[in-house]
Symmetry: C2
Subunit: 174 residues, 2 copies
């Protein structure tokens, strides 16, 4: 599948087929994260792959009760083992680098026929308790992953390019 | 090009061919950003496409003197027009959502034969001055883009999967 097609096909999948994901496919998805770039090659990403149903139900509760999370065959808790390094631009490296790795995963998942959903609505302290994640680690996203049960919702409307792109100076249109 | 191949081929390109990038290709790259997912579909990303050589030299100086930035045919300043919304997990939406959009761009660029380089080492206030970016906007990354002059440096070594992946609980290996 081309990158263009994967970008066009990706959507938030909240309904999963009752079918396990092959371990090899999960590995391929994690491999896509592993190869991601990061500031100074810091690679602060860490992933906890969860398939235990009891834990998944707890994770769904920690995700503000988004119970679909527990109905995926697998949830990956995307974490950062970080020294909270700040780039010259003033941004912390870890949220950006985690997002790069996760985006790699979501696009590779599409190519493998899998669906995912970015979940940032969760209580971090709860998730840490469920997965025995140490205090100093940050949990940045939960990523359920599985075969989609259906085509997913149509993509939400996006701004036109004209609204988000300027030329040479802020606010300048072509 | 498959997603897998694009992920494997992507590298930080710091040396560009003396050749303009077709406007249509830049548009395709921006379109990849436009289609990215974001928390609550906030789409806080804004892009300033810079090809003016004088401005690019100033941007390179603002990027702690990384002069290769000015030798690309184009630099995209990746900005956030944000209300600094915090997700339940405690993360701000904008750095993560910008990173998703930029990752989409970098992978689509590879597919179009283009090279990019994530630049977080820049002085934001300087960049804002150069591009007339308002005070309240955040500049998250600079992204030079162009045809690579050579194959680029080999990818830096990554951790093995074994170091970054746990199963069911933090620290647990399979």
């Amino acid at each position: 599948m081309t990158v263009e097609d994967a970008i066009k096909a990706r959507c938030s999948v909240r309904s999963y087929a009752d079918r396990a994901v092959e371990a090899e496919k999960i590995k391929q998805v994690l491999e896509a994260a592993r190869l991601a770039p990061s500031a100074g090659n810091r690679q602060e990403w860490r992933f906890v792959v969860v398939t235990d149903k009891n834990k998944m139900v707890q994770l769904a509760e920690a995700a503000a009760g988004q119970m679909f999370v527990s109905r995926a065959p697998c949830v990956i808790a995307c974490c950062a083992e970080t020294d909270f390094h700040e780039m010259k631009c003033g941004q912390l490296t870890y949220p950006i680098d985690l997002a790069i790795a996760i985006d790699h995963m979501t696009l590779r998942a599409v190519e493998l026929g899998l669906g995912t959903c970015w979940i940032g609505a969760f209580y971090e302290a709860e998730v840490k308790k469920i997965l025995n994640i140490p205090e100093e680690i940050r949990v940045v996203e939960l990523l359920p992953i599985g075969y989609p049960a259906d085509k997913g919702r149509p993509r939400k409307k996006r701004h036109d390019l004209d609204k988000i792109v300027f030329y040479e100076n802020w606010g300048e249109k072509r």
